[in-house]
Amino acid sequence: MKTVLIADDEESLRALIETTLEAPGLRILHAANGEEAAELARREHPDLILLDWMMPGKTGIEVAEALRGEPDTAHIAIIMLTGRNQEKDRQRGLALGIGAYLAKPFSPLQLLECVRRALAAQDKRNKAHEQMQRG
């Protein structure tokens, strides 16, 4: 069972993303702002967060920085959802090791591909992690 957290202040977009991702064995959580996203991430330890950059209150990048700083949540994969003119802000994201960006509006096929890749990479990391702990 995988868990994906969708953090975006736009409810209809969250619904759209949920419909896009829906699959057996996938649990989907919603957060409507940055604070909610950080709280849910700490409580539920999702495998992946789709994180909107521009949210009222705490922005996506701030949430990412906070989660990366805590050992419990540092490993969570993050895909940033960005507006059109945030190219230079990516530097901040790159510093956090966030490799995946999806510009809004996004192509649903691209979204699916991004999510699939992120979850597969996460799987690999988890297995390696387990092996290291065992070995």
């Binding site: 736009e10 209809s12 977009l13 759209l16 809004k104 509006p105 996004f106 192509s107 649903p108 096929l109």
Partner: protein, 306 residues
Amino acid sequence: MSRCNGAETHSAARPRIPDMRPQLELYARDLKRVLAEEEERTRQLEMANRQLQAYAQDLKSALYAERQQSRELKHSYHETVLRLLAVTRYRDHETGEHVVRIAHYARRLALATGWSAPDAELLFEAAPMHDVGKIGVPDAIIHKPGPLTSEEWTLLKRHTEIGAEVLSGSRSPLVELARQIALTHHERWDGTGYPHGLKGLEIPLAGRVVMLVDQYDALCAHRPYKPALSHAEACRVMLEGDGRTLPQHFDPLLLSAFREIHSDFDNIHARHADQVGLFVLPAKVPPAKVPVEVQQPRSAGASETH
């Protein structure tokens, strides 16, 4: 904080279509692309399907033609064998029923001694050719009513080797088996047979089988020098001997199998009793003239000898 509830509800429920529009357009675009790809894949699958069906059809008709051909080949093969037999019967004045009985006896005895059904079937088809070599023996010897001189006897014995020569060098298992039978169906288990005086297991099994059933049929047949024996008498001669025919002539295992199933021999003999003058040809070779032509030498031969 005295916000109007109605206003808030209204603002929350207000659809934000302008914001979603570019996103939904992308969904529509992707959906179209996926549909187009799906259609293309379906088209390709349908084409592959049609292609496979065409192949299957081709294979089916090829297989059908092949089967038809093999049936025809088998049939004409069979017919050739039967015509060959017709030639020897024509010479030999044997009735057609003799070779039919030999085929049935041989198959019955083979099955009783554990032959597989296909092998027994091959024997069934090969056994009737055991006397084809008589084509090379002079009429005067074959039709001589009295005892043969030793020279005549030597010539008559040659029919085994002549038959083997006629049937030699074939790649067909049937003809090869027939060759073996033609050569060895007068060999005896105790080594007193001909042409080579083979003994015991030196004699091929098919030869031993046909030798036994040919003996039985000869005992039951009328000859100018002897009457026809009844089934019971023939059995007694084979199992106990009469001075000419001796039990040690036969493979003991075959003889004991014969003892077990002898009543089947009686039945076969009854079912395929000689019908004087009736010349049996393969079903697909029906010219009405043939029986008439065959009658002539028969009556001519009879008038010469009597």
